[in-house]
Amino acid sequence: MSESSLSALAAQLAAKQISSRELAQHYLDRIAALNPAINAFITVDADRTLAEAAAADALRAAGNAGPLTGVPIAHKDIFCTDGWLTTCGSKMLHNFVAPYDAHVIQRFKAAGMPSLGKTNMDEFAMGSSNETSYFGAVKNPWNTAYVPGGSSGGAAACVAARMAPAATGTDTGGSIRQPAALCGITGLKPTYGLVSRFGMVAFASSLDQAGPMAPSAEDCTLLLNVMTGFDPNDSTSLEREKEDYTRDLEKPLSGLRVGLPREFFAEGLNNEVAAAVEAAVTDLQKLGATTVEISLANSQLAIPVYYVLAPAEASSNLSRFDGVRYGYRAPEYTNLDDMYCKTRAQGFGAEVKRRILIGAYVLSHGYYDAYYLQAQKIRRLIANDFGEAFKTCDVILGPTAPGTAFKLGEKSGDPVEMYLNDLYTIPANLAGLPGMSLPCGFDSKGLPIGLQLVGNYFSEAKMLNVAHQYQRATDWHARAPEGLE
């Protein structure tokens, strides 16, 4: 059962070969057995999960089941979930029980999909290794001495270890794609504005976007059908007609033009990753695709631009954590100002504080033009490069991350070294384009390698078509770590 796709699980539920309650119990048992070693979940509440599963079974018995009713899913602990602890991986929210559901949670509930729990993450989604979580690092299921990536590290690890058939994630600079790559699963960051950010704890609002994480592209397609749609509660939610993302899955790839950005295959890319991605290109050529070399010349500036814009937005967003309305409050203080300062000093971890300080500085008087405005202008240049590239290709392909998973502790002492992990993923966030990562091989240490697809705005159906056809011809996505039990 742990190797079943979402469509297979849905078919078994529809045929009444299994109930949602039995399915939920299977995954809860697996979480109980494996989570102590992996630490992918911050909160598990078996009673609540089983109650939601029983409700899904009742929905089916009443003849009101949708395509995924009864299939359980794990949610990143960044989504407010009514009645569940929602910590965002931070001491600041260690005691915060959300009083409402995020829009994404509402949609999965409406689809009748029980929650298996809340997954671990880098604090406030700031990190690429899941080591900044107040609740401890997540371990990579392929080798527990290695990181799972981040910030959606718990989501990626729980799917890789088959503790959940699917999970939600969020991606501000690569936080769905990079952990998907490092854990050997498929993950998609949609076009900015397709998925509502309502109830999703804000990091950098002009970049944050939620998306699905699961073993295969086909699974992600089904989840995307649930997640997307207009929400008046998010001012950046796009009013578009609802799409069926499964519509192009089975199309042949003949005539597909794949753009290969030369900057993504340059210095700094690990040789084994380069070889696996190049082999995937050959596989796509066999399926009828042609390749074209493209240039994303300004993409090398994506990291400096991101580390101005994201901290600037974060310093503003995280000003709400003041110890007054929710979350942590310092136990001792002399006055109101001292209460703010101590609460924030004690409630935030080191990386979050670093980014707030960067943001406060670049937005401070006299520095705004040199940093924030300059970064916004280069953001435009980066987006323009993509616009040019999509005149000659249908989808852009490259590595997701410059290397495979690294050891726990290996990069946690050097912020810049850690930031470079998101070299290839950040450009899509800056432009607001959809990006996805899918497994394309393993390195000599047995760690997964991910390839990235970046598509034009609203081309998710095309990207999922490419990914699905690739996954029909290969079996990297079907592999799961062994010997975990």
């Binding site: 300004n298 580390y307 280069i378 987006a383 912020p415």
Partner: protein, 95 residues
Amino acid sequence: MSLSQDDVKRIARLARIEIDDAQAQATQGQLNTIFDLIATMQAVNTDNVSPMAHAQEVYQRLRDDVVTETDRHAAFQAVAPAVENGLYLVPKVIE
């Protein structure tokens, strides 16, 4: 450019984050490494480039002036550190 320890303390003050001398010193080195990375941006000519604040050209939507929310203050205040009679409690600010 390079941040001094006083700069770090000033920013921390702006951000309302308490920081002592030892922390300011450690943070100073890390922030300067990050600002060295950010400085590579300054060499780019961006004359006549319009800043990009958002991926999509979206505008604030207007809606009819009708009540859409119900009163849930009890639920929202249940998660606050200190509340009394529907009010958030903070240290006295006016003598």
